[in-house]
């Protein structure tokens, strides 16, 4: 049974909720940052593959997270820097590192499974 999509849509609490999700270190994330219909479509498309430790994270207002994202450790990928593109989809590991980034809908949709695999192995 796949895990439900985790939606962070309260600007006041998004950062704290984000930290709380990463703290245990027992989850990986396919994180979709944005609030368009396509963002929602992408999250919905990724959800069937989000079983066991895998989770889909939808952050509808990621603006407040961008500074945090810029400071996160990365592996095998160039870290995101402001100004953030419209589309940002990132693969986050158990220990909170970013290991892949997609900046358009097409690439992100094609690489749902690869992002999950990278998040749990790299």
């Amino acid at each position: 049974m796949p895990n439900p999509i985790i939606t962070l849509n309260n600007p006041a609490t998004t950062a704290a909720q984000f930290d709380a999700l990463l703290a245990p270190g027992d989850k990986t994330f396919f994180a979709v940052l944005g609030n368009s219909a396509n963002h929602q479509t992408l999250a919905t498309a990724a959800q069937p593959d989000a079983s066991t430790w895998r989770h889909v994270l939808l952050m509808t207002d990621p603006t407040l997270l961008y500074p945090k994202l810029s400071l996160m450790s990365t592996a095998d990928v160039t870290p995101p820097v402001p100004p953030m593109p419209t589309w940002v989809v990132i693969a986050i590991t158990f220990d909170g590192r970013i290991v892949d980034i997609a900046t358009d809908f097409g690439t992100a949709t094609a690489n749902i499974i690869p992002f999950f695999i990278e998040a749990e192995t790299l």
Binding site: G25, T52, R54, N111, I113, P114, I117, E118, T121, L122
Partner: protein, 621 residues
């Protein structure tokens, strides 16, 4: 009698128990010598070890249709079998790629290694899922996933590989998504290999496969269908059950019989002395060598020319005289040696005689080598100056010059073969049968095949390899080259030909027979009587499959056999021959035999031990 049997049994037990350790050491020495010899002759990899890269594997089908899959440490093959080779095309492609496209080769190697780890990898992923579902701590299941990091990076971080991965069908289960990684790796490997094969074809890369049968007399190529244009030899089998004495053995038995007669009538010491005196006859064979006769004729001709007034150039005259003098000195030495060994030796010390023969042969070899060098120098001098002489002199000199050059080499070869007979026993015992020198070079009858033309199977039928015997050797070599460049050896394997199952053969021997029990002996009776004998021996029953295939020394040194012994006895010293039949155990290439028999004429039992003797000019083989 009991004591002899007891000693024999103890010896048998010790030999069986220690032969494994000793065989291993001897085989190791022999392999080092063989590897060293082969490494001198060829470049590249000489195998028969576990460490070298393999480019082909072998399955042997013997004459009974049984199949044996060769292991890397096998060194023995049945002489009547068919060898089915499977060529590792992937290894050849990697090798070609290493030269043509190092980058592709590196990727290919990583992907091949990845595929090799597929089962373990999937098991790790399944293990991680189970542990997570059981609520085990993350320290248990997360590392199992981390182990797949290199594979994930290899496939998913390369845009081309990622594209292939995304095209492989998979479902929402995590296991199927990881299985798809390996399916993608397999597809990518195929594409990379195709790239290398295409590049290899463009660059004229080729592969050659060849085999040789090496006997003591010659080394001949073996036809491999599809790989060369040699003509296969007429089919022949090595006799597995030889129950009748060969012509050589019959001749040896006659000599042993004469030896035994002398030993019985005049004592063993006199018999040995007579035998060792004959070893000097080796040297008297010199005067019958064609090389020696040619040398004599050349000396006459050179002397005549040097004394002739027709030769004008002083340097030519001097060189001719030098050559004639060198030959004359050498000939005098040879003549003196021949005369020495033609006269019967009066010394009673057989050992001293053998040593003297050995010394004289060594000295003669040294003198021959010096003569050869001296004649070569004279040839060079004369050749350089001959143009200044008259036409008649030039013709005469040119007639003599080729002989001059040739004789040194031929005589050295002839003499070397005489000297080597003395060393045959020791070298053959340690290194096995001496084989003809082989350089393992491919001739133009061996096809140069591109990788995509190559069959990945080859058949070497030993029954059409030519006349062969146990102790001969088959060598298989595979090599790779490029257009216009000679091929480089990739792998060479050497296999000795020995029966690896039951077989039988005959052996002759000189027996020490003990017909009288010790407690019944009187002071006048001899402790032993001497008898010629032959045995029919069954062999191959003491070795495991592994020993038979891996231990050359088991076949070439130990060669244990058990069977029947037939001997010509004369217990009562009356000159009338009595037939003895007994059971015999033989070891060390029949150098040592012992057993117990019955004199069929008077019913007396006897114990015996026996061994081979170097009688007359026949050599231990």
């Amino acid at each position: 009698m009991k004591r002899i049997i007891t000693y024999g049994l103890i010896l048998m037990m010790i030999s069986v128990k220690t032969h494994a350790q000793v065989s291993k050491t001897i085989d190791s020495i022999k392999q080092k010598v063989a590897t060293g010899k082969a490494a001198k002759k060829t470049k590249g990899t000489t195998s028969n070890t576990d460490d070298a890269q393999r480019f082909f594997s072998i399955k042997e089908v013997d004459e009974n249709g049984s199949t044996v899959t060769f292991q890397p440490d096998y060194r023995v093959v049945d002489p009547n079998s068919v060898l089915n080779l499977t060529i590792d095309t992937a290894a050849l492609i990697s090798k070609a790629g290493a030269t043509l496209s190092p980058d592709i080769t590196v990727k290919l190697k990583k992907l091949v290694n990845m595929l090799a780890a597929e089962k373990e990898s999937i098991d790790n992923v399944k293990g991680a899922i189970i542990a997570y579902q059981q609520g085990r701590p993350k320290q248990i299941w997360q590392p199992l996933l981390k182990k797949q990091g290199d594979f994930a990076r290899l496939i998913l971080k390369d845009p081309d590989n990622l594209s292939i991965y995304n095209s492989v069908p998979k479902d929402t289960s995590i296991v199927s998504q990881y299985e798809a990684l390996f399916k993608a790796a397999s597809i990518i490997i195929g594409r990379l290999k195709d790239q290398i094969v295409s590049q290899a074809k463009t660059n004229g890369v080729y592969v050659q496969l060849g085999a040789w049968l090496e006997t003591s007399k010659a080394s001949t190529p073996i036809h491999i269908p599809g790989f060369d244009s040699y003509t296969p030899q007429p089919a022949s089998s090595v006799q597995r059950f030889q129950l009748v004495l060969t012509d050589d053995q019959k001749a040896q038995l006659q000599q042993i019989s004469a030896f035994a007669d002398t030993a019985n009538s005049e004592g063993l010491g006199r018999a040995i002395l007579n035998a060792t005196q004959n070893s000097g006859q080796i040297l008297t064979a010199l005067e019958n060598l064609q090389s020696y006769k040619d040398l004599t004729a050349l000396w006459t001709s050179l002397n005549k020319l040097a004394d002739s007034t027709q030769v004008k150039t002083a340097a030519v005259k001097t060189a001719l005289q030098d050559a004639a003098n060198a030959i004359n000195t050498y000939k005098n030495n040879v003549d003196a040696l021949i005369a020495k060994y033609k006269s019967p030796q009066t010394s009673t010390d057989g050992n001293q005689l053998l040593l003297q023969v050995n010394t004289d042969v060594g000295l003669l070899q040294s003198q021959t080598s010096q003569l050869s060098t001296s004649l070569q120098n004279d040839f060079t001098t004369i050749n350089g100056l001959v143009a200044a002489e008259t036409a008649d002199v030039q013709t005469q000199i040119k007639t003599d010059l080729p002989i001059l050059q040739k004789i040194g080499g031929e005589f050295k070869t002839d003499l070397s073969s005489i000297g080597s007979q003395e060393a045959t026993f020791i070298s053959q015992l340690l290194l096995g049968k001496g084989l003809a020198e082989t350089s393992y070079d491919f001739t133009n009858q061996v096809n140069q095949l591109s990788i995509n033309q190559l069959n990945n199977t080859a058949i070497i039928d030993l029954t059409t390899a030519g006349q062969r015997n146990q102790g001969d050797q088959v060598t298989i070599k595979i090599a790779m080259g490029k257009a216009g460049v000679a091929s480089t050896e990739l792998e060479t394997e050497h296999y000795k030909l020995y029966f690896c199952g039951l077989y039988a053969n005959t052996a002759v021997g000189f027996l020490f027979v003990s017909p009288t029990p010790v407690f019944k002996r009187t002071g006048d009776n001899a402790f032993f009587r001497y008898a010629p004998s032959y045995s029919i021996l069954l062999r191959g029953i003491f070795a495991s499959e592994k020993t038979a295939r891996t231990s050359v020394s088991y076949h070439s040194i130990w060669e244990p056999g058990i069977g029947l012994n037939f001997s010509a006895l004369d217990f009562n010293n009356t000159g009338s021959v009595q037939l003895g039949i007994g059971g015999v155990f033989s070891i060390f290439q029949d150098f040592l035999q012992f057993g117990y028999g019955i004199n069929t004429f008077d019913g007396r039992g006897y114990a015996f031990f026996g061994f081979k003797l170097p009688v007359g000019s026949f050599t231990i083989h």
